[in-house]
Subunit: 146 residues, 2 copies
DNA sequence: ACTTTACTTAAAGCCCACTTCAACTTGCAC
DNA sequence: GTGCAAGTTGAAGTGGGCTTTAAGTAAAGT
């Protein structure tokens, strides 16, 4: 018989509060079996899911997006190494995008200070994505990520 | 007389909705003069403030922290190049911290896949029993950049 | 002068990611 | 078999970051 965890144990091992775990379950991010007395019992594999959720959150991904990603895992069987590798490499791509974005931000900020224009609004940091040419320096929308 | 912007103009040029600009004003992030008829008129320098706010938000900083940072600007005069350079370099440090954090995350993720441990929970990626356990309610921002 | 668009306010609403509450039930330790 | 920590539920509350609404005023175009 497979070893299971109570909600308190999973909470302790994952660093996520029990209330958050119940919330995740309502959103369909994790699953739990039940005892005869209706208490949750988590397969140890859920620990990995919770870790994944927390990592994705740190990258700035919403729970809804995380749910969509986790939906890519097989439902019928415990995810294999290959399953997780696929998901994780997808997240590495997201991380790389985000890192590149922040680096661009940092470098542009440096340029703005260095060049003396000082107008954050006048550099490519704020890209005039529309009719800039009314009068004077233009409208500035920040470039959206991905 | 100094050229000013209506709230609609500032909204258009900054890409921030008028309601958000009024909200920022309530929080003390930006300031506005008034016409005889009580309408807001923004000094062009406010455009820079709004840009700064948006950039800081992209880095994952809360409005409260942004307000504290902006409080470092002189109230009596229009901020000089040096004023902005000081603020911006502080933000560059934040950016670097955040970039370093994400890189560590990315590299650890690679390691987890490569080594086959597959247990994200077994690496330093997930720090069980740690301080993140009780952050209180509210949307999770990015981890503190200190 | 008139019409239309833009602005004003306070208060309420919304979305996300949770937490807290109240009232109750399970299940492990002794 | 009893005591008590740990679990259960739905509903309501919290905090951040806004948007929407309603009712009214200002200013710009013709």
């Amino acid at each position: 018989m497979q070893q299971t965890l109570t909600i308190g144990e999973l909470a302790h091992r994952s660093g996520v509060a029990p209330s958050a775990l119940r919330y995740y379950e309502r959103l369909g991010l994790i699953r739990a079996g039940r005892t005869g007395g209706n208490q949750r019992r988590y397969d140890r594999a859920e620990l990995r899911r919770v870790s994944f959720i927390r990592i994705a959150q740190q990258v700035g991904v919403s729970l809804e997006e995380i749910r969509e990603a986790l939906d890519g895992l097989p439902e019928s069987r415990t995810p294999t190494k290959a399953d997780w590798a696929r998901l994780s490499s997808h997240w590495q791509a997201k991380l790389n995008d985000r890192i590149a974005f922040l680096e661009r931000l940092r470098d542009d900020l440096t340029g703005c200070i260095g060049c003396g224009c000082l107008s954050l609004t006048a550099c490519r940091l704020s890209n005039p994505d529309d009719e800039l040419a009314d009068d004077g320096p233009g409208p500035r929308r920040f470039p959206a990520l991905s």
